[in-house]
Subunit: 508 residues, 2 copies
């Protein structure tokens, strides 16, 4: 394999660049190949999208796995189906002679459940092509199966078009593009394709014990999720975890007349409000003792990475119709470096036309706490419970019985939904992290957006933790892909560029 030393001319000012070994002009070569082969690439994607892939649909999941194994084998990878306690994993490997580095690519081939009648097409598994965004009234193009060329703004509408089949197809196309240019991956490559990600990946961690030898690597690239809203190539070094709690407070056993008993019978809705209000100050700072303990001060380099994300707060504020962030002056990326405390739902008795003059029997708040690497779910759960108890509340984990009601004036039922999912973060300062950045920069001629911690939670976090080596997320698809919803879609310009991104990772 021909390899040239390539020095980045436009050094990314925010990152100490390593010298990167990458084929000269790789980006242009891949682009050229994609332009010629776009029809075949789209065909492979469309055929894969046509196989339904809901995790619970075992027969079709198996069809997907078989198809993917064949697709991988066709590129010369050793490909296998790995049986698990749940849906099969698809695994593949290609050795790079002489390389001591192994990269593991992760993607998932299952998709979110669908409600076909909500879709503006006959089936979420019959891909359709539109000239642009459906929301912009872009027309459907009926020649998806036959047209020779595609435009960057055109979109394919289908379940898993973005989440998460197109990254798999892009990765395979990158193998083809390299080969047709006489190139090969510079690292040993492994691929693991999950068939249950949208169902929480329950079989993934257990599979490690059985298949550890097939899953070792120096780094895992997670091919999932959307690019930064700016649309620029993006690298994500971490994701917040999450812990969800349900808090229910108790008033009278049954709703009572607010006239006859108002001022006398305790009101669970007011007490819930009072409890919640102790948890956050007016500036959005969580008041639970120890909530932010252990968060490190960012180094200047890390701070520069965080500050370098091209967010547009004014555009977001306009989009959301808010006058400013929760804490005045707080930048979005700064906010995402900390754990959050969010009231995601509230309910007590009725509102609107159904409202009645009663003292409600109960009031419930649904809470989600986003975690960062330094604040694991179990610890924050304990801190919240301690906070509640310190304020005189009796904490239960089921509806209180009569004796409990008679003894305690402030009772709250705190139910955690499972153990939560911890955060993951790979330091952007690791050599492998910097190498990934510089490889992307080489190919695209401009630095990627670097996200130290993305705000959302990925179910793969326990898998990353169990594997024990660095993981870096490399998203590929358009931000406005209607992920998880109806009319999921993939912008083809993003898809084609993803092939170049994959080539960068394969050759870095």
């Amino acid at each position: 394999m021909s390899r040239l030393v390539f020095s980045s001319a436009v050094a990314f000012a925010l990152t100490s660049l390593l010298v990167v070994a990458q084929p000269a002009g790789l980006g242009h070569k891949i682009d050229a190949w994609v332009t010629i082969n776009q029809r075949a690439i789209v065909t492979e994607l469309v055929e894969l999208l046509a196989i339904p892939n809901i995790a619970a649909d075992r027969a079709n999941i198996r069809k997907n796995a078989t198809r993917l194994r064949e697709m991988l084998a066709r590129r010369g990878l050793t490909a296998e189906i790995l049986e698990t306690t749940g849906n099969p994993l698809v695994w593949a490997e290609m050795k790079a002679p002489g390389s001591t580095r192994t990269v593991l690519f992760y993607a998932h081939y299952d998709g979110q459940p669908v409600n076909p009648k909500d879709w503006r097409q006959p089936s979420p598994f019959t891909p359709t092509l539109r000239a642009g965004r459906m929301e912009d009234n872009a027309a459907e193009l009926t020649d998806l199966a036959t047209r020779k060329t595609f435009q960057a703004d055109q979109r394919i509408y289908a379940r898993s078009a973005s989440d998460d089949k197109s990254p798999i197809v892009a990765l395979l196309a990158a193998f083809d593009a390299l080969e047709s240019n006489g190139l090969r991956p510079s690292s040993n490559v492994r691929v693991i394709l999950d068939g249950e990600e949208e169902a929480g990946s329950p079989s993934l961690v257990p599979a490690i014990a059985k298949y550890r030898d097939k899953l070792t690597a120096d780094v895992m690239f997670i091919l999932d999720g959307p690019l930064h809203p700016s649309g620029r190539p993006t690298i994500v070094f971490g994701a917040r975890g999450s812990l969800t709690l349900q808090l229910t407070t108790y008033g009278p056993k049954f709703a009572v007349h607010s006239g006859h008993y108002g001022n006398w019978v305790p009101n669970p809705a007011m007490r819930l409000a009072q409890l919640l209000a102790t948890m956050k100050d007016d500036n959005g700072r969580v008041l639970v003792k120890g909530f932010y303990d252990g968060l490190p001060a960012l180094t200047a380099e890390e701070q520069a990475i965080v500050d370098g994300v091209p967010d547009d707060p004014n555009a977001l504020q306009t989009l959301f119709g808010i006058a400013g962030p929760e804490r005045p002056g707080l930048k979005l990326q700064e906010a995402l470096q900390s754990p959050s405390f969010n009231v995601r739902g509230l309910s007590s008795a009725f509102i609107g036309g159904d409202a009645r003059t009663i003292i409600p029997a109960t009031a419930t708040a649904e809470i989600d706490i986003r975690l960062v690497k330094e604040t694991p779910a179990a610890r924050l759960h304990e801190l919240v419970l301690a906070h509640i108890r310190e304020r005189g509340w009796h904490v239960v984990t089921a509806d209180p019985d009569d004796a409990t009601r008679a003894t305690h004036s402030k009772i709250v039922n705190v139910v955690a939904r499972g153990d939560g999912t911890n955060a993951f973060r790979t330091s952007p300062l690791l050599p492998i992290s910097k190498q990934t950045v510089s490889s992307m920069q080489s190919v695209f001629g401009a630095p990627p957006v670097q996200i130290r911690t993305s705000g959302g939670t990925v179910p793969i976090a326990p898998f990353i933790e169990a594997l024990g080596f660095p993981a870096i997320s490399v998203p590929n698809v358009n931000f406005d892909n209607n992920q998880h919803g109806e009319n999921e879609n993939l912008r083809l310009g993003h898809f084609f560029r993803a092939i170049t991104t994959m080539a960068a990772l394969l050759t870095m």
Copy 2:
């Protein structure tokens, strides 16, 4: 008419008794008459209950009015139907030669809407008889139409059995009972029967302008509502008013991902909780400035009346499953002397299985404020608005537009449901109040329960205010009558005793 001076032997220690002119042994005479005439009394009630009486059912409302006019005329009262802008009022009068006092009896002949399928009988307008409480599995007695005698624990199930037709029938039976004993009312008597009380009595105040001459009196006795839960004869001197407010706070225009934006996009549910928490302290004291202004200290005599109510807080606490009142040590009757601030409903996004990890777009609290005479609705409304504004909130009365959203970080939409209903209270220290008490005590041989202010709100309050003379509520029916719900019922022991109560009022 024979009238004897009757001195109470068992002077009611808590009230300065006046000397009451009342026929000797009146209670026993009425009892005896009722025992003999119970079949006819029940028949008259059952026939009246058989005429459907939902306020919106104009044809049947008219049949009720016609029937009632006839029933009143049969007792020798001058009876008329008074047309209004809504349902007709039934009015009647009987002069007491030589008396300079006029008492006006108010009751209503319409009933709450019904959902017949929720009733355990073919129709809410086909009265049925049970041996006791349905909830205690008392059997239905199929000989309601033919049986000669009734037991005190037996109950008639029908819409308006308690609320509010039986007091009308009891009043008319009292005329009969007096007449058969050679007695006549000691005051000029007027009767006004409302056909829209359950629809908020919209035509009542406007009718005053048209019929003021027919509605003047020295006191109005309101025959409505249940006795004190102790079951003892009860006199109620006032009722709290009510003001309902809906508070809606705003986050992003549409729910956004709590991972991507948690800590950054303001959360309307948390902000609502924080706002509500500023309104009441942990001991149930409302923190809105001026909320309790103007409340008088009770005189020793008033305090004795309030303290004399035979509430059973332990029984209530056990029934409701609460460890104690909102403010430790607060007595129920004390609580009812003050305005209340009650959260009757809360909602933001979803809870339970529908909960999603979002920052909700809005959060809503439904508030009801119970008023006392010294705290009119308009003033407390202003105080609450001032409280909210002082805490930095921008108050709107409709969903905010983009410009408002861009300018104000804390926006709350405060919607009042109408102008509220003010409280009413007649001083229990007035001579007419004391006379009513002593008359009841004479007849029953024991003092009635005296409620200075009942907790609930009566739509008749504006009518009382507009009439401008004292009003005293004299309830008659069992506390557990399923008022406003399905299976409304009347305990016959209460019904028969109501006739004695009416005789006491007619002859005091």
